[in-house]
């Protein structure tokens, strides 16, 4: 009978370094998915009635929701950072003018573009809709 050696693995391996960093990065997916659910609830309430939508707005103004969205924001910002930090590793090596572009430069450019995009959206939304 074949009895291969199985190296014992700590069942909490994902909660310890060096894996913890990856676990935290993947956990941003939970926050982004949960935020999608909050928005979906809003759209469904909007389809149901004005009263239902107002109830959703009241939920958004509750302490629980504000705390939840503060967590979402931290997760989103961490996602922005990790998303562009892995970008140089997931794309083909970028050559400009016969030189390889530094991975750090790609990450910095990505984060800068994201910051600009978020800022522009905020300003436009608050200006136009008001």
């Amino acid at each position: 009978m074949r009895r291969p050696y199985l190296r014992p693995i700590d069942s909490l391996w994902w909660a310890k370094p060096p894996y913890l960093a990856y676990t935290l990065r993947e956990a941003t997916g939970i926050a982004i998915g949960a935020y999608a659910l909050v928005l979906l609830a809003g759209v469904i309430c909007l389809a149901v009635s004005e009263n239902a939508y107002d109830a959703w707005l009241r939920f958004l103004a509750s302490r629980w929701s504000l705390a939840l969205h503060a967590i979402f924001l931290v997760a989103m910002l961490f996602h922005v950072w990790t998303w562009f930090a892995i970008m140089p590793k997931t794309m083909p090596r970028l050559v400009i003018g016969g030189r390889y572009v530094e991975p750090r430069l790609i990450t910095a450019t990505g984060v800068a573009i994201a910051a600009l995009a978020s800022l522009v959206l905020l300003v436009i939304a608050l200006r136009i809709l008001q």
Binding site: W14, T23, E26, A27, T28, G29, I30, A31, I32, G33, A34, Y35, A36, L37, V38, L39, L40, G42, V43, I44, L46, A47, E50, Y53, D54, L57, L60, A61, S65, L66, L68, H69, A70, F72, L73, M76, L77, H79, V80, W83, F84, G110, I113, A114, A117, S118, L119, L121, L122, A125, L126, L129, Q130
Partner: protein, 118 residues
Amino acid sequence: MKRSVAPIFWLMFGAGGMLAALVGPALVIMTGLIVPTGVGNSTTIMDYAHAIAFAQHPFGKLVLLAVISLFAWHGAERIYLTLKDMHLGPKFTLAWLSYGSAGAVTLATTAALLAIGF
């Protein structure tokens, strides 16, 4: 050769991840923090009249569907891969649970947007 369906999920994951990276923080700040607290007299921008007008417009519908469903697919991919790595169940079950949820979110969003009408 049997083709894998993984690239389709990766495409949704990538699109949702890029969208979240570009406008995610702004969206959370706007819908979850600024508007509910009324900072800068902003409470009216998400009131019923504005929201229904936005959701009735084809562009508004597209934005809502893209944000909600792509964020859901992005989250689903991350959750699926993490649960798979943690060996928390058979791959098949985990895939159905996570991708199934994202699919349900997409369908529910589409249905609600259609119910809102044009």
